[in-house]
């Protein structure tokens, strides 16, 4: 069994209004050393796979087909074996 932790972020160059808003909010709370904020998605999948390669292949597929939109987003993921 595996757990996949997937990170989906906006591509560099795509404006991130949410990140900008969070940055403004943090600055106004006095956190002035925050130079940049990017907000993305964190998706955790619990997988019933027993084979790492297979799991990896499928997670990649899921990301490309559904979980990220390649026009605006990048993704990467970490795969971890877990005991059931």
């Amino acid at each position: 069994m595996f757990q996949a932790r997937i990170f989906v972020t906006l591509k560099d160059g795509v404006l991130d209004p949410q990140g900008a808003a969070v940055k403004t909010a943090l600055t106004s709370l006095g956190y002035e050393r925050v130079a940049d904020v990017r907000v993305g998605k964190y998706i955790v999948l619990s997988l019933g796979h027993s084979n790492r390669e297979e799991a990896e292949k499928e997670v990649r597929e899921m990301c490309e087909r559904l979980l990220a939109n390649p026009v605006i987003e990048n993704y990467f993921f970490e795969l971890q074996e877990v005991s059931s």
Partner: protein, 240 residues
Amino acid sequence: MRFGIVVFPGSNCDMDCYHVIDQVLGHPVSYIWHQEKDLTGFDCIILPGGFSYGDYLRSGAIARFSPVMEAVAEFAAKGGLVLGICNGFQILLEAGLLPGAMMRNNCLQFRCQDVYLKVETNETPFTNIYRAGEVIRMPIAHGEGNYYAAPEALAELEENGQVVFRYCTPGGEVTTEANPNGSCNNIAGICNKERNVLGLMPHPERCAEEILGNTDGKKLFLSILSWWEGQRCEEVLGCG
């Protein structure tokens, strides 16, 4: 002319489109459940507004995998008219039937209000009875209408005259202030290269009746009918 309105789980402007086609235009129309795979007999398919699958993850992301979307792609490839309104536009983008992607409004809030639009081209089946450059008023209601396309893609859209509607001031100026969501080049609606697929964020079905105080949207539907009449005329009589 026969219209089909696709119903995804979470569609909510399906009934509104139905009402306009049935009661205002008086044309045959039926709902198409998202599991449907056969679109024969339809002349125009509408993907209505709403929140298909709750718009969880990204708007339109899950709906594009509905069985009906394969049929819609085929239908479009054969030249059938496809109109995506609001969530329907988002689904068309996710499905790759139109280029680009939709992001959250730059104000980070849902916006429901009237906007002014410049009709950039009347050379589409959806806008042929508007004047090119005409300024119209239409309601928007969305949280993710911030249209994005990479610079090359955007240039291509502009070059091909695929930008159909742009947010503008009542006087017709395309300004940042007139843009309710931060979309690239103030884009409110685009069509494909072949011009038979249109996606737009504003809701023409919400301004097609006198009692609602605005009929600017009715012309979009009338354009479709007039284009259809023209087509049929060509087919049947070989005229045009």
